[in-house]
């Protein structure tokens, strides 16, 4: 089967009556899972996989991947409206989404986020399709030395995020790196910073940490402050106003198409790198959006570009993440491991066999991502109105309800009561950081990338020795990192001067 034939067949299968209903149900299921804080794509797929035993391959894939594809969309919705990221990927959306809501622009933010998700997912899926002939080479490009330096490069984006207060951002990022070290060290079996608590042996889970740092901290803030979630908005937007804003937001996403493309490329690229995960991609995209924008000062105060960037990236990740799973049958993340076993249940083999003989199935996946996100965008638009009304409910009612939802979300991933306490501890900590003006995003980036940096540094040192940086590709990447960091330090010094001379 040639690639063109596979593409045609994949498309006609995706929209056929046997497949489309499953795709539709899967997408809506994913959207709902995304809206619930703490439940991630991983969870949606894990639930969906149990239905596959009686299904045919194409509908099964559409259902499974549809459920995974729309999760970040649903998560963006709650990030903007309730300051509660539905999944880890949406944490970066918190930087500018809620401020827009407070300005009474919730509809614009959501519209822009939804459209950016759709465009990002489409970008990522198309890149995956284009890469099929060279997929194996692309995946093998990244070994431990390359991943180490790329993770380090991503870490330097902290510099962009926290430009206003570099010292505090660095403190937060380093603290994040330290938090990543909690747990049993895979290499030496040593218990690090576990304080004799057994449950810390596996390290801190990402979901309760994010829920704590952002969602619980916002709830504490709201409780202390009183009033309603949408701060400066006297009364809820009417349905018509919201609708108009959504279309305005969608328009803005298309108007910033070049930004969408660049952030999608960042997302897809980071998805291709094994072991980085999707949360860093959205932060790096945010950093890039801020870096490249002429109106840097308005970021963090409700700039729509700060919503478009990360939301485009966190859906573009999908296409990249699928690459190693499809090319070699080697999953790059826990979600992809579930996808792989789902394919296995459906009787499909991944790896070269799939790329050669079942390329139509690969295109069913690609079209599932695109169509699924389109459905997510449409359905999401209808969800905005009822949900946005909830943002004008007063704190004394809203906080207990949302806290119950957050606690459930923290618990659900691993069914661990301990994770609820993690969320609460990090909530208090996050609130303190917010009050004292430390960047929670910087901490999160350090935390998320800590694993990848440490593990790959260790493997690179063992496999290639201390001079691994001198190999051509790592050398080139290292130079880019140094240049990027140097440029940032230069701009910081440059921007600071006038103020000093004043």
């Amino acid at each position: 089967m040639t690639i063109i034939e596979g593409m045609m067949s994949g498309f006609s299968q995706s929209v056929s009556l046997e497949v489309f209903p499953y795709l539709f149900v899967g997408s809506i299921f994913g959207l709902i899972i995304g809206v619930i804080p703490g439940l991630s794509g991983h969870f949606a797929m894990a639930m969906a996989v149990t239905f596959l035993y009686t299904m045919e391959p194409a509908p099964g894939i559409a259902f499974l991947l549809g459920a995974h594809a729309t999760v970040a969309q649903g998560g963006g919705l709650t990030a903007i409206l309730f300051s509660t990221p539905g999944t880890g990927q949406n944490a970066a959306t918190l930087l500018d989404g809620p401020p827009m809501r407070d300005k009474g622009e919730a509809g614009i933010a959501v519209g822009a986020a939804m459209a950016a998700c759709f465009l990002g997912a489409t970008f990522g899926a198309l890149v995956l399709g284009l890469l099929i002939p060279v997929l194996r080479e692309v995946v093998l490009f990244f070994g431990p030395p390359e991943v180490f330096i790329l993770a380090f490069l991503a870490l330097t984006f902290v510099a962009v995020l926290g430009k206003e207060d570099m010292t505090r951002s660095l403190i937060a990022a380093l603290l994040g790196l330290l938090l990543a070290m909690i747990g049993v060290d895979n290499v030496t079996n040593t218990f690090r910073f576990t304080m004799n608590i057994d449950a810390l042996g596996d390290g801190l889970n990402l979901v309760p940490v994010i829920l704590g740092l952002f969602a619980v901290a916002e709830m504490i803030d709201l409780w202390v402050r009183g009033g309603t979630l949408a701060r400066d908005v006297p009364k809820a937007l009417s349905a018509r106003e919201t609708q108009a804003q959504i279309f305005q937001g969608i328009g803005l996403a298309f108007k910033n198409w070049w930004l969408v493309m660049r952030c999608s490329a960042i997302g897809t690229g980071m998805g291709l790198i094994p072991g980085l995960g999707s949360a860093p991609a959205s932060f790096v995209a945010y950093g890039h959006a801020k870096q490249s924008s002429p109106d840097k000062d308005t970021f963090g105060k409700g700039n729509v570009k700060g919503v478009i960037g990360p939301e485009a990236a966190n859906d573009a990740v999908e296409g990249g993440a699928l690459a190693s799973t499809l090319a070699f049958g080697i999953p790059g993340s826990s979600s992809m491991a579930i996808l792989l076993s789902g394919l296995f249940i459906l009787g499909l083999d991944t790896g070269p066999q799939m790329l050669n003989q079942n390329v139509d199935i690969v295109f069913v996946m690609i079209f599932t991502i695109i169509i699924g996100n389109f459905i997510g965008t449409l359905v999401g638009m209808f969800l905005v109105n009822p949900l946005s009304r909830a943002t004008s409910i007063r704190a004394s009612v809203m906080v207990p309800v949302l806290m119950a939802v957050i606690a459930t979300g923290a618990f659900a991933g691993d069914r661990a009561i301990f994770d609820i306490s993690i969320a609460i501890v990090f909530g208090i900590f996050g609130y303190a950081m917010k009050v004292l003006n430390y960047s929670r995003s910087a901490l999160l980036i350090g935390f998320v990338l800590g694993f990848a940096v440490e593990k790959n540094l260790y493997l690179a040192l063992l496999l290639d020795g201390p001079l691994f940086v001198l190999q051509p590709i790592p050398m080139m990447l290292a130079m880019i990192t140094v240049l990027f960091l140097g440029w940032n330090i230069y701009t910081i010094v440059r921007d600071r001067k006038p103020r000093i001379s004043k």
Partner: protein, 345 residues
């Protein structure tokens, strides 16, 4: 004084209640007890993994023969220890069972790893679903086609492994020690898939793993099967040297084979289904019977083979013996294993 009295009174009450419940339970017919009851089936790993998959394909048949509803509860953590501990400490009324990573639980217990709060020998086993067939593969990029190549290519080859004490690590270290392989074991990979990627890139030359997870790569030519630890090899294993043949030919072969036998005893524990200690005997007998029937249900067997899933059933009684053999090793061999698990070799 008064407190002591209260305490003993409370203890007596508890004892009496337990006793009366105990007799009531054993009087009740086990089949009657399970009919329309709920059995909790713990899977100590995430949904979608091999353990989860094995459980999900078996459960409809287990339900058929017990008459109970079986609920899967995924409980990942501490490399499968969290779920294993949960099963071990759950109420012994026979309503909680679970699949465990038997071999890893034995090695963790031997090495007294923190969190190994269970005794493999004390579980009530329903039986075993499968035991991994351990194989060594070499990546296509390494140029190694046979075990002889690995031994005689004039360089120290790198064998990849996951965490310290994980099966990929213990296999590599023990067999390397026994066969005096010129190798360097690099561990610290997140999952076995990452080692496979490293083999494809040529960063790592070889790895140990289960045949089930290696078969796809062998078929596609990503890596070559060079050695296995199976005593009665069939299928594609038949043409590949077994580790016993090689050890036997070496100087002091008996001693080497003896160590490998213990290593094999560990693999034989495989993936058993276990209930906590203290389950009433009639219920245990009923569960074992239902498990045996489910595992041998022709429809189930057909489905497993259709899905390329190995099965190697062992009865609950046999499993008890297998677990005992694996946990009661000769002192010097146990010391060797413990050193291997702790990364001291």
């Amino acid at each position: 004084m008064r407190r002591t009295f209260l305490k003993s009174a409370a203890a007596a009450t508890i004892a009496i209640t337990t006793l009366s419940f105990g007799t009531a339970a054993s009087a009740q017919d086990a089949g009657e007890f399970y009919k329309d009851n709920v059995i909790k089936w713990i899977v100590p790993y995430d949904p979608g993994g091999g353990y989860d998959e094995y459980s999900r394909i078996l459960i409809p048949y287990f339900e058929k023969y017990t008459g109970a509803r079986v609920d899967i509860v995924n409980m990942p953590g501490s490399g499968g220890m969290k779920g294993a501990v949960e099963i071990f400490n759950s109420p012994s009324d026979g309503r909680t069972v679970g699949i465990i990573n038997g071999s890893a639980m034995v090695t963790n217990q031997l090495a007294e790893i923190e969190g190994a709060n269970y005794k493999v020998g004390d579980y009530n086993f329903l039986g075993r679903m499968v035991a991994d067939r351990r194989v060594m593969v070499a990546g296509a990029a390494s140029g190694i086609k046979t075990f002889d190549d690995l031994m005689n290519n004039g360089k120290t080859d790198i064998v990849g492994a996951t965490g310290l004490g994980g099966s990929t690590y213990v296999d590599a270290v023990i067999t390397g020690d026994v066969l005096e392989v010129d190798q360097r074991v690099v561990h610290g990979f997140d999952r076995s898939g990452d080692i496979r990627t490293a083999m494809l890139r040529g960063d790592v030359q070889a790895m140990w793993g289960s045949l089930g997870s290696a078969i796809k790569g062998i078929k596609s030519g990503d890596h070559t099967l060079i050695l296995h630890g199976v005593k009665n090899p069939t299928g594609i294993l038949a043409d590949v040297p077994s580790i016993y043949d090689i050890a036997m030919k070496m100087e002091g072969g008996d001693r080497r084979v003896q160590i490998l036998e213990s290593w094999d005893a560990l693999s034989a524990v495989g993936r058993p289904v276990a209930a906590p200690p203290g389950v009433p005997e009639d219920r245990l007998a009923f569960l074992r019977d239902a498990f045996a029937k489910a595992m041998n249900d022709p429809e189930f067997v057909a489905m497993a083979s259709e899905n390329d899933r190995d099965l190697s059933y062992a009865s609950g009684e046999d499993m008890a013996r297998i677990a005992k053999a694996a946990t009661e090793l000769d002192a010097d061999i146990e010391a060797l294993f413990v050193a291997a698990i702790r990364g001291e070799i």
